[in-house]
C-alpha cells in the first residue's frame, strides 16, 4: 500500500502541468484514483458525504454479473462437448476450462479496446476517466455468441464507445445503452455470426472427434421462430443448459445477480418488476389470441405459456442488467414503471411476431432507450401541470 503510494507520488510530477507526460494526466488520474480513493474533502454545502461513489456502484454491477459469466464458461464447454458426443466423458473442469479459454480472451479484448478508446477520448477532451465502461466491458462479451471472432468484438466495442457514448459526452450523457449498441452493431454488420443455428455452440472438432448425428445448434427461440422441434425442457431453460449468448442462458445465475442488484438498491426494482409484468401481459395476451394466428409456426409460438417467455432467450439478462442501466432508462420513478412495462411488452411482441429477430429484448430495450426521455417528459409535465392547477385554484379562491 505504502509502495503503491510511493510509486504514484514519484511519477506524479511527470503527469502534472509542464511534466513530460502532461497530456496523459487523465490516464494517471484514472490509475491513481483506482488505487486510492482521493482524500478530497467537501468545500461547499454538506460537510459529510455518502460513502458511495460511481466506482463502487459500477463494481457492484460487475460482481452481480459474475455468476452469469462463470455459468456461461461452463455452459459453452458443456454444449461443445455435447455436440461432439463427449459430454459424459469430459469432467466439469474440462468443460469450464474450455469455455474460459474462449471467453477470457473476449473479456480482455472488450476491456482492453474499450478502455483504450475511453483513455484516448479523455486525453483529447481533458476530462477524468469515468467508470461507465467497467460495466459495459463485462456486458458486451456476455451478450455475444461463443463463436464470434475477437476482431468483431473489438470493432463492435469501438463503435459502441465512440458512437454510443463518447459523441454524446461520455458516461451519463448517452442515449442508448452502450453494450446493446455494440450488440446491435454486430447483429446488423455481421448477421451470419450473430444469428441462425450455427453460432451458439462451438462444433470445431479435434482429430478423432465428430459432431453427433441429429445435432442441432438452434436456440430455443430460433426453434420456435422456424417451427422446429424444441429439444430442451423448461428445466433446462431455467437452469441454462441451452444454447444462446454467453451470459444469457441461465435464469438461475441471472436471478442471483438480480438479487444482488435489488438488495443493494443499485438497479431499479421498478424497472425489473414492471418489465416482468409487461412480458407476462404480452405472453398471456398471445395465449388468448393464439387460435387466430395466421400460420402454424406462429400459432405454436403464440400458444406457448406466457411465463415461459421469462426463461427463454435474453429476456432475463436484458431486463436485469441492461434495461436497468440508469442513464439510458427513464429517470423518474413513475417513468420507470412505464418504461419497464413497455420493454417487457415489446420484447415478447418482437420475439413472436418477427422471426427475423427472434431476440426481441435487444430491440425492445434500444427502442425504449430512445423513448425514455419522452416518457420522462410527460411524467414531469404532469407534475408541472399539477403545480399550475394548484396555483389556479389558489387564485380562484
Amino acid at each position: 500500500m505504502k509502495l503503491f503510494k510511493n510509486i504514484l507520488d514519484s511519477v506524479k510530477p511527470h503527469f502534472e502541468e509542464g511534466g513530460k507526460f502532461e497530456k496523459l494526466h487523465p490516464v494517471y488520474d484514472g490509475f491513481a484514483t483506482f488505487l486510492f480513493t482521493p482524500g478530497h474533502t467537501s468545500h461547499s454545502g454538506a460537510h459529510v458525504r455518502d460513502a458511495i461513489d460511481l466506482k463502487r456502484t459500477m463494481i457492484t454491477v460487475v460482481m452481480a454479473m459474475v455468476p452469469a459469466l462463470l455459468f456461461g464458461m461452463w455452459n459453452a464447454g458443456n454444449l461443445h462437448y455435447t455436440a461432439l458426443g463427449l459430454a459424459e466423458t469430459m469432467t466439469f473442469g474440462d468443460k469450464f476450462l474450455w469455455g474460459a479459454m474462449r471467453i477470457v480472451p473476449m473479456l480482455i479484448v472488450s476491456y482492453g479496446v474499450g478502455l483504450g478508446v475511453e483513455f484516448i477520448f479523455c486525453i483529447i477532451k481533458k476530462h477524468s476517466i469515468q467508470e461507465g465502461y467497467l460495466v459495459s466491458g463485462m456486458l458486451i462479451p456476455l451478450i455475444m455468441p461463443i463463436d464470434i471472432p475477437l476482431w468483431m468484438v473489438a470493432v463492435s466495442v469501438i463503435f459502441a464507445v465512440v458512437i454510443g457514448k463518447e459523441v454524446f459526452g461520455g458516461t451519463g450523457m448517452n442515449i442508448l445503452n452502450p453494450a446493446l449498441t455494440a450488440r446491435a452493431f454486430a447483429f446488423f454488420a455481421y448477421p451470419t455470426y450473430m444469428s441462425g443455428d450455427k453460432v451458439w455452440i462451438n462444433t470445431s472438432a479435434d482429430a478423432g472427434q465428430s459432431v453427433v448425428d441429429g445435432f442441432s445448434g438452434a436456440t430455443v427461440l430460433g426453434s420456435y421462430a422456424t417451427g422446429g422441434d424444441v429439444q430442451y425442457s423448461v428445466w433446462d431453460m431455467f437452469m441454462g443448459f441451452i444454447p444462446g449468448s454467453i451470459g444469457e442462458t441461465s435464469t438461475v445465475a441471472i436471478l442471483i445477480g438480480a438479487a444482488i442488484l435489488l438488495y443493494t438498491g443499485i438497479a431499479s426494482w421498478r424497472i425489473m418488476l414492471s418489465g416482468v409484468i409487461g412480458a407476462l401481459a404480452m405472453g398471456y395476451l398471445f395465449n388468448a389470441f393464439a387460435p387466430h394466428a395466421i400460420s402454424p409456426e406462429q400459432q405454436s409460438f403464440m400458444s406457448l405459456p406466457g411465463w415461459q417467455h421469462l426463461i427463454m432467450g435474453g429476456f432475463a439478462f436484458g431486463i436485469v442488467f441492461m434495461a436497468t442501466d440508469p442513464v439510458s432508462a427513464a429517470q423518474t420513478n413513475r417513468g420507470k414503471w412505464i418504461y419497464g412495462f413497455l420493454v417487457g411488452f415489446f420484447a415478447i411482441m418482437i420475439r413472436v411476431f418477427n422471426p427475423a429477430y427472434p431476440e426481441g429484448i435487444m430491440m425492445a430495450i434500444l427502442f425504449m432507450n430512445v423513448m425514455a426521455p419522452l416518457i420522462d417528459h410527460y411524467v414531469i409535465q404532469a407534475n408541472i401541470n399539477k403545480r399550475k392547477k394548484r396555483l389556479a385554484t389558489v387564485k380562484a379562491a
Binding site: T37, H40, G45, D50, A51, D53, L54, G172
Partner: protein, 450 residues
Amino acid sequence: MSEVIKIKKGVDIKLQGEAEKIFATADTPSTYALKPSDFPGIRMKLKVKEGDEVLAGDPIFFDKGRPAITFGSPVSGEIAEVVRGEKRRILEVRVLADKEIRYRDFGSADPASLKRDEVKGKILDAGMWPLVKQRPYNIVANPDRVPRDIWVSCFDSAPLAPDADFVVHGQEAEFKTGIKALMQLTDGKVHLGLDGRTNPSEAFKVEEAVMHRFTGPHPAGNPGVQMHAVAPVNKGETVWTVGLQDVIMIGRLFMSGQFQAQRSVALAGAQVSKPRYYKALIGANVKSILEGNVAAENNRYISGNILTGTQIPSEGYLSYYDNQITVMPEGGEDQFFGWMAPNFNKFSISRALFNWMMPNKRLNLDANLNGEERAFVVTGEYEKVFPFDIYPVQLLKSIMVKDIEAMENLGIYEVAEEDMALCEVVCTSKIPVQETLREGLDIMLDELGD
C-alpha cells in the same frame, strides 16, 4: 390535538457527540462579527467605519436595494475591524464588545396593541428584521410585502441539533410575545410546526397560532418541508419563516425594548470532549467555547450543522442564524482501494456498502467526499431523501442550463438549500447540490425581484 403528519422520505444521520442537556459556561468572548455571507441576495452597504462606537441594536450595515433593512449590532462596543476580501468585498465586520453591554432602547410594548406598521417598524429599527426570512428564495424577507402565512418550525431534525424543549424552557413568555408580534404581520396565520414524537411543550401552545405535528426523519423539521406538506408556496405567494430562537429574540424586543441577541447554542460533534449547551450572542467568537474542549487535531469547525453549516476557523464567529457549533474530523486521507473496502465506519444509504448491518451505530464522520465528481448517472437516490412533490434532479438540471421558466415550473419557489442538503449527501456523483440551488435562487431573484 391536531393530526400528526408523517414525513416518509429523508434520513437521520446518526452521529457521535450529541450535546448533553446542561448549560456550561465559557468566558464571555471579547469580539463579535457580522458576516454578509450569511445573507444571500443582499448588497451590503456599511453604516459604520472602524473606530465608531455602537450600542446593541445600532445598525452596522444595511441592504442597498431595500434600505429599510438594517443589520443591528448584537453588542455594544467599538467597530474594531472591517475585514475585506477580493474586490474589497466585506467578509466580516468585527465589534470589540464592552464589558457590560449597553442597549439602544426601542421601547417595550404589547404587540397585540400595536398596528402592523408599528410592529414592523420596531423590528426594523432594532436591526432585527434579518431574523425574518422568506420563501421563495430563502432570503431576508421583503418588509413591504404582506406574507400569505408565517411559518415557525419548533424543532430541528438536523444531526446533533439543539433540543427545542430544552432551549425554549424558561423563555415561554418571550416565545408567546414573539408569536403575537408575528401575528400582526400577516393576514393569514402563524403556523407552528411541532415535533410529533413528543407532547408539545406548554410554550408552544399559543392561541390563534395553528399547530401542526410532524414525525419522520430529517428534513421533517425544516419549515420548507412542513409548509409543503400543509400548504405549498405557489408562484407569486410569499411565506415568511422565523427560527424558534429568533421568535424568542423578537419577543424579548417587545418585552424589554432591547435587541438582546442571546441564543442557546449546542456545541456538538465527536471531536468535542464535553458536548454541552452554551449561552452565546449572535456573531460571538467561538474561541472561548472551544478552548480546552476539543479532543484531537485536524478538525473541521462548523457554525451550524453538518448539512448546511459554514466552515469557520477555530477562532471564527458564530453565523447569524446558527444555534449550533459542530466539530468533526477533517479527514483528507487517501483510502487504499476505497471503492472496494467494506467501509463500516462511513455513512451510506446504499446497501452496496456494508454499513446497513449496523443501522443504529453512531458514527464519527469526516469531511471526505468519498469519490470524485461525475455527471448524473444513478437515478432515484435524491427521491429517497427529498420529501417534496418536486423532481430534484430535473430542477437542478434546469438551474445548470439557467432555464428560468423550467426552474419556475419545476417548483424552485418551494425549496431552500437546507431542503436539498440530504440530496447532496447521498449523491453518488458528488454534485454540489446546495451551491447549484443557491445559484438558481439568485438567478430567479435577479430576474424577477422579491
